[in-house]
C-alpha cells in the first residue's frame, strides 16, 4: 500500500463530505462556530472564556489594558516586570469563576449559610451571578491611568479616582450593548458593585453581593490579590509572592462569622496554612518589590513629569481621551522630554530616563518612631527648609485593610476566628514605609547634615498641636 492508496482514500472521503454538505445545503468551507475559547497564560496555563465574554475582552477598554504596565516603572528595577494589566485581568476573571464554583458547590454550603443567602439555592440566579462575577473581575482595572496607580490623587480632578473611571466605563454607552447581548443579559450596576466592592462603589450592597465582591476585592482572599502576587513574582523573578494557591482555592468556603453568624468568605481547616502562606507572600513582596525605594521615587518623578506635561496638569476623565491615553504615549513623551530641556517636565523625565533619580536619605525605623511617631515628616520638613523644596521628596504608605481575621471551618463543623488558631497570622508585621529622598547631587551633604541634626529634629519635631 503506497501513497497512491492513501491518495484515493482521501479523495473518497472528500467526496463523501461534499455530498453530505450538499445534501445539508451547507457551503463546504463553513465551520461550526466555536463558542468556547482559550488563551495560554504563564500562571494559570489555560484561561477559558465563551463568545459573549470574548466580546468584552475585545472591547476597547479591555484592549487598552494591553498597554498599561501592571507594575508601572518597576521594570527599571526588576527588568522582567513588563507584564500588563490585560493578562492580570484575564487571570482575575479565571480565578473568580473557579472560586465561585467551589464556594457554591452543594456539598460545600451549610444549611445555616443557605438560610442567610437564598440565592445559593436558585440555579438560574447562580448562572447569572457567575457571569456577572467573571465580568466584574475582568473589568475591575479598566479605569486605570497610564502607569497604574502612580499618583492618581494628584493627577485626576477632585472627586475622581481609577475606581470612578472604572464605574463610568462599565456603565458607558460603549459597553452597554455588550452587557445586553450576553446570555443572560447582565445589569451593568451589578458588575460595578462586584468589581469595586462596598468601599468604592458608592452603592447599597445585599449580603450576597457583599460576599461576591469579597471574592474579587476581599482583604484576605480576593482573587485580584491572589493573581497579582503570583503573576508579579513570576515576572519579577522573585519567589516571595508564591504560595499554594491551588490548595487555598479548593478550601475556600462561605462560613458563618463566629460572633454574629453573618456569612463571610473563609477557609476549611486544611487550607489555613495556604492562607498563612498568602499573607506572608504579601508582606514579603510588598517589602521587596512594590515598595522598593527606587520604584517609589521613580513614581514620584513620573508624577512630577505628568503634572507638567499634561494639559492643565491633570488626566482627562472624558471616555475617549481616557481610552486614547496609555503607557505608550507617556513613555514617548518621557523619553523626548528627557533629552530636550525646552520640553515641559524635562527635569523629572531626565531623572527617570538617565537614572539620576533622588536617593534615600532617611527611612522610618523603630528607634525613631519610639521618640516621634511622625519622625519622617519631621525630617522631611527640616530637610525641605535646609535644601529647598525642589531637592527633597517624601513618600509614605501604610498597609490598608484590617487584621487577617476570617472564619475557619473546623472538623467538628463549627467555625472559629483564624486568629484564634494561627500564631503566624497574628505575628505578621504591618507593612509601612516612610522615606525621605534627596537629589543625588546633594546626597553626601545631606548625610552629614542629618548626622548632625537627626536627634534634635526627631525630638523637637514631635507634633503637639493640642487644642
Amino acid at each position: 500500500m503506497g501513497k497512491d492508496f492513501y491518495g484515493k482514500v482521501m479523495l473518497l472521503m472528500e467526496l463523501i463530505i461534499c455530498v453530505t454538505l450538499c445534501a445539508l445545503d451547507m457551503p463546504k468551507s463553513r465551520k461550526i462556530p466555536k463558542s468556547e475559547h482559550e488563551v495560554r497564560d504563564p500562571i494559570h496555563i489555560f484561561i477559558h472564556f465563551d463568545s459573549d465574554e470574548r466580546r468584552v475582552i475585545d472591547s476597547r477598554p479591555l484592549q487598552r489594558l494591553r498597554h498599561i504596565h501592571q507594575l508601572a516603572l518597576t521594570y527599571l528595577i526588576y527588568p522582567g516586570t513588563t507584564h500588563k494589566r490585560f493578562e492580570h485581568s484575564l487571570g482575575v476573571m479565571d480565578l473568580a469563576g473557579r472560586v465561585f464554583d467551589i464556594v457554591v458547590k452543594n456539598q460545600n454550603v451549610s444549611e445555616e449559610v443557605r438560610r442567610f443567602l437564598p440565592e445559593i439555592n436558585q440555579d438560574n440566579k447562580l448562572m447569572y451571578w457567575r457571569s456577572a462575577l467573571r465580568m466584574a473581575a475582568l473589568c475591575h482595572d479598566i479605569g486605570h491611568l497610564p502607569f497604574s496607580h502612580a499618583a492618581e490623587d494628584k493627577l485626576l480632578p477632585e472627586g475622581w479616582n481609577h475606581e470612578r473611571l472604572t464605574k463610568e466605563i462599565i456603565l458607558s454607552a460603549e459597553m452597554k450593548p455588550i452587557w445586553e447581548a450576553m446570555t443572560p443579559p447582565l445589569r451593568p450596576e451589578d458588575i460595578v458593585k462586584l468589581a469595586l466592592g462596598p468601599r468604592k462603589a458608592g452603592l447599597k450592597f445585599s449580603r450576597w453581593e457583599t460576599i461576591l465582591s469579597e471574592i474579587i476585592v476581599g482583604d484576605a482572599f480576593g482573587v485580584d490579590r491572589i493573581d497579582y502576587l503570583l503573576r508579579d513574582s513570576h515576572h519579577a523573578g522573585v519567589s516571595y509572592g508564591r504560595f499554594d494557591h491551588h490548595r487555598l482555592l479548593e478550601t475556600l468556603r462561605i462560613l458563618p462569622t463566629p460572633a454574629t453568624r453573618e456569612p463571610a468568605l473563609g477557609v476549611e481547616y486544611g487550607g489555613l496554612q495556604s492562607a498563612e502562606a498568602l499573607v506572608i507572600a504579601r508582606y514579603l513582596i510588598y517589602s521587596q518589590v512594590y515598595f522598593h525605594s527606587i520604584r517609589r521615587i521613580c513614581d514620584i518623578h513620573l508624577c512630577d513629569f505628568l503634572a507638567q506635561w499634561l494639559s492643565g496638569g491633570k488626566f482627562s476623565t472624558e471616555l475617549e481621551s481616557h481610552l486614547a491615553m496609555t503607557d505608550n504615549e507617556v513613555t514617548t513623551a518621557l523619553i523626548s522630554a528627557a533629552f530636550d530641556s525646552s520640553k515641559p517636565g524635562h527635569e523629572a523625565a531626565r531623572r527617570i530616563i538617565c537614572r539620576e533619580h533622588f536617593r534615600v536619605m532617611y527611612e522610618r525605623n523603630p528607634a525613631d518612631l519610639a521618640v516621634n511617631p511622625e519622625s519622617a515628616s519631621a525630617i522631611f520638613s527640616a530637610a525641605e527648609k535646609h535644601f529647598g523644596a525642589e531637592s527633597v521628596r517624601t513618600d509614605k504608605y501604610t498597609q490598608r485593610g484590617g487584621s487577617y481575621d476570617f472564619p475557619v471551618l473546623q472538623r467538628d463543623g463549627d467555625s472559629v476566628s483564624s486568629l484564634a488558631l494561627s500564631e503566624t497570622l497574628k505575628a505578621i508585621p504591618i507593612f509601612a514605609i516612610d522615606y525621605v529622598f534627596v537629589e543625588p547631587e546633594k546626597r553626601r551633604e545631606a548625610e552629614k547634615w542629618l548626622e548632625t541634626n537627626h536627634d534634635a529634629i526627631i525630638r523637637e519635631g514631635r507634633a503637639k498641636e493640642d487644642e
Binding site: R261, E262, A370, E374, S417, L419, K464
Partner: protein, 176 residues
C-alpha cells in the same frame, strides 16, 4: 483633626471600652467611634457606610491598622471570636501629648463608653444600625424605623429592632 490627635482619641476610646469590660474587637471600636462621631459630633473625620454589621468605616479600619504599625495598638486573640485591639504603653505617651484634646472630648468619650462598653457585637450591630436609621429617617415613628431596621437586617426580628430603636431614642435624648 490631624492624625496624632485622632490616634490619641482612638487609643483613649479603646482604653475606656476595655476598662468597662468590652471585648474591644474591631467591631466594638467601629461602633463606638460611630456613636462618638455621629451622635456626640466629635470630629474624627471618618466616612461610615452601612456594611455587614451595621455602620462601618473603611478609613477607620485603615487607621486602626496604621496604629498597630506605629505601635499604639496591639492585637490579642482570645477564644473563638475575633481578636481584641488594646492600647500599648506608647499610646499612653501619645495621649500625654494631647491633654486638652482628651479633656475637650472627655465627656463624649465617657457617654459613649458607658452606653456601649458592655455590649456584645450583636447588640452593637442593632444599636448602631438603629442610630443610622434614626439619622436617615429622623421624622419616622419608632415603629417605622424599627421596620426599616428589620428590612435592612432581616436576622434582627421586628421586636428586637423596636427595642433597639427605643434604646437609641433614649440615648439621643440623654445626649441632647
Amino acid at each position: 483633626m490631624n492624625r496624632p490627635k485622632q490616634d490619641a482619641l482612638l487609643s483613649e476610646l479603646t482604653d475606656q471600652l476595655n476598662q468597662r469590660g468590652s471585648w474591644c474587637g474591631e467591631t466594638h471600636i467601629q461602633k463606638a467611634a460611630y456613636f462618638l462621631q455621629e451622635l456626640r459630633k466629635v470630629p474624627l473625620g471618618f466616612d461610615f457606610i452601612l456594611y455587614k454589621h451595621g455602620p462601618f468605616s473603611f478609613d477607620l479600619r485603615d487607621e486602626l491598622t496604621a496604629m498597630r504599625a506605629d505601635g499604639f495598638l496591639d492585637l490579642y486573640s482570645q477564644g473563638p471570636y475575633g481578636p481584641s485591639l488594646l492600647p500599648t504603653r506608647r499610646s499612653v505617651e501619645l495621649r500625654q501629648d494631647y491633654p486638652k484634646t482628651l479633656q475637650k472630648y472627655g465627656r463624649d468619650m465617657q457617654f459613649v463608653c458607658d452606653a456601649l462598653g458592655n455590649q456584645n457585637v450583636a447588640e452593637l450591630e442593632k444599636l448602631a444600625t438603629a442610630l443610622y436609621v434614626y439619622f436617615q429617617h429622623e421624622s419616622g415613628s419608632r415603629r417605622v424605623r424599627a421596620k426599616i431596621l428589620h428590612d435592612l437586617k432581616p436576622h434582627i426580628s421586628f421586636s428586637d429592632a423596636l427595642e433597639a430603636v427605643n434604646q437609641v431614642d433614649a440615648l439621643v435624648e440623654r445626649s441632647a
